[in-house]
Symmetry: C2
Subunit: 457 residues, 2 copies
């Protein structure tokens, strides 16, 4: 191990940046289950997926044997505008906690989209442009993915149509305005623009929308408009592939100083950040080369890992998308309106679901007031205002560091700080004003939704 003092921030040089994404599936013994055609329950072929996704992205989606995909130069050039992202040694947090643990976080918030979502957005926009498309459609909840995609599309001159969950559209007018600065059109979902939107509005006139519903609208729009395809910011294999840049950079930075993490922690909604962060480390674990503890942190109000079923389910509310095998609360599950921030998707990446099912990863759920308390503590000592999503990981990193304080163990903890909270100040305000609750769904609520899982052999 290097004896050099580890700096507060470890930056890789531009020429040390990863040149290829790592495809964890290639090394997994139990591969994630394939997407199924919702009508036939047969695995989706490239041809089946072609009306929805870009051709190159379909190849990435279906490939579970190729370990590395070279990153095209055009994407590398864009990455160089905001990457490598810093790996930060949380000296001030360690001191404030009085813990012997060594805490590192990979900070993905230093770009205008405010999160790691840009890593996949730019890749998806690139492949859409390369295919000669006019534009792409997508959904966004908290707005980070929509902002990232708007930025990526502006860079490549693609049209960008975003369906934004209505409650976020209304509560986050500034997120919407950032997307508009980047030339995207933003529609509150459910909308009257699509069949599925009109149907949902007819059945639930007062609904404030959900991610699953916005996905259905975006997919319908893409498949019914010439020259358009649909893109998604999480859950899919291709997204985890692009997000592996997070883990690859983290590992390269730690390796420079001979540091090996004991525990790796990430927040988990659809799994894009967690899957990306852990991928090269999990690769070593499944290949038997090293061992790590991995912890997925999810909100207690949307607990797919800790209270969901491992089963085939629809990815969207409108049931127009393929079926995916995953930990799910049922495609009709909508988290309580009192839940702030993202991490509100009913399911979870198939890759992560398989790893969790195989016992290679742990999962915990946390209450949102505990999350905001950790966020504020972190902000005051580390100088970064974290996004509510990222703060789930902060909460558990602090918990683990405090266990080290009790036992005296000098464990090394790495967590993903996925983004900043500048557009989440309404949630912070609720927290400061004591108006934030800790609603946890009842078993009856979850079971009602799980009872509607599709029957798949």
């Amino acid at each position: 191990m290097s004896t050099e003092k580890i700096p507060y921030k470890i930056y890789l040089e531009e020429n040390e940046m990863p040149k290829a994404w790592y495809n964890l599936r290639a090394d997994m013994k139990n591969k994630p289950a394939p997407l199924l055609n919702p009508a036939t329950h047969e695995p989706m072929s490239a041809k089946d997926l072609a009306p929805v996704f870009c051709d190159e992205l379909i190849k990435q989606e279906l490939d579970d044997t190729t370990p590395y995909f070279p990153i095209p130069d055009e994407i590398l050039d864009f990455y160089k505008m905001y990457r490598p992202s810093p790996l930060v040694r949380a000296y001030c947090l360690e001191k404030a906690l009085g813990t012997p643990a060594k805490i590192y976080y990979k900070f993905e918030g230093n770009n205008t989209s405010g999160s790691h979502k840009l890593n996949s957005a730019i890749a998806q926009a690139y492949y859409a442009k390369k295919q000669g498309l006019k534009g792409v459609t997508t959904e966004t909840g908290a707005g980070q993915w929509g902002t990232a995609l708007a930025m990526a599309c502006a860079y490549f001159g693609l049209d960008c149509k975003v369906y934004m969950v209505k409650v976020s559209y209304e509560q986050k007018p500034f997120r919407r305005e950032v997307m508009r600065t980047y030339g995207a059109s933003v529609t509150p979902s459910p909308s009257m623009e699509t069949n599925v939107g009109r149907k949902i509005l007819a059945e639930h006139p007062g609904t404030t929308g959900s991610l699953g519903c916005a996905i259905s609208e975006a997919v319908e729009k893409a498949t019914s408009t010439e020259g358009y395809r649909y893109v998604l910011g999480s859950v899919l294999n291709q997204v985890l592939l692009h997000q592996s840049i997070i883990g690859l950079e983290s590992k390269a930075a730690l390796d420079k100083y001979g540091v090996k993490p004991d525990i790796i922690i990430g927040c988990a909604g659809g799994g894009s950040n967690l899957g990306g962060l852990i991928s090269p480390f999990m690769g070593e674990k499944v290949r038997g080369e090293a061992d790590y503890r991995f912890i997925a942190v999810e909100p207690a109000s949307c607990p797919s890992f800790t209270r969901g079923n491992f089963a085939y389910d629809f990815c969207d509310t409108g049931m127009v998308c393929p079926l995916a095998k995953m930990y799910t609360l049922g495609s009709g599950f909508i988290p309580s309106a009192s839940h702030a921030g993202g991490l509100r998707y009913h399911g979870m990446s198939s890759v992560l679901s398989q790893l969790y099912h195989d016992g290679l990863m742990e999962a915990v759920s946390v209450l949102q007031t505990d999350v905001f308390r950790a966020a504020e503590e972190f902000a005051r000592v580390e100088g970064i205002l974290p996004a509510p999503e990222s703060s789930h990981a902060i909460k558990v990193a602090i918990d683990e560091a405090m266990k080290c304080k009790e036992t005296g163990e000098e464990k090394t903890i790495l967590f993903g700080l996925t983004g900043t909270g500048y557009f989440d100040m309404l949630a912070y305000q609720k927290f400061h004003d004591g108006k934030m609750d800790d609603y946890v769904p009842t078993d009856a609520e979850i079971n009602e939704s799980l009872d509607k899982l599709p029957a798949v052999d």
Copy 2:
């Protein structure tokens, strides 16, 4: 000159960071004029200033002979959390403009305060803590300084009381909430808490406030409360001293690649960013070691350099502060309510005023719709959403780059990108909706304010 390809972002290593601030005044042939006691018109002594400012900061304020001040370790440690800031080569902007110019910008927005203001906030909080004070008071306009000070005070465990210009308090509730996250109390100004606030409210019941007025309130509060002092985010010599870190890092990063800028551009409100950015380069110029063009960019709606007088004036509306010799529009000048963002101070740093008066620096004023047009163009290609203030520099950097396109000259342009615009989306929205105007004060308006300048020999 190094033949190595210049990366998109030049980061200094932690051990390459400057260890001392540079005091440009030590090298200036014509020193900036001293602050005067408003009653006697005699230069302010350290004793005169002691009720208002911290002792160490007074020493820095009055010292125009010591060229370097070592940065205390506690401040260096804090700097390491968010510095060195990147010096970015704007390859994408150059390509979009089709210019042979080489454009660099020093990006100070990658911290939660969203701007360069943190560089001086942490220094001022440190010296207040070292003096054993309980807390500090200040004013904030657009909110960047208040946020920075709140962060700095949280880090050192100081109380922080911010008077926020009422119009910003109302239009930027999220800025206020960030300050609250860091434990600061925020009062809309003018308020009923101070004599000067009550007086201004009695005379102008509907006023939305001004920086000059908020300064008066903060100073009164500090001088009338045991264990408190007043701190200021711009204009003062001490602030320019701390902000020299911007220029020192920029110069060190450029020197690594053998790059010498031809033109250095910064936005100018009170002068903190511009003064910091240019300081080591201007030092070379006044010592006769090198030549550079310096351009201060100010809003056409608050044009202190280009339309103000070089004269002694009050720093605040309530006339409780010392007199400073500076380019000023008169301490009663309030920019049009249609003016978005900061850069709304009636005066300008005495250091920069002297340099401008001596012909060592140029100044231009720009219209705000031109500024937002430049901001949007920049955001789309460089992936950073700039603050309105910073976008003044972008506008003129683009203008200069386009002149190079006409002449074919390969000039090297450096500008300061002081911060991000996440809390300025209302202004962006007005711009997108075509509701932003380009109000320019009439000569009569400016003369009315200038007629009230105090008579000083």
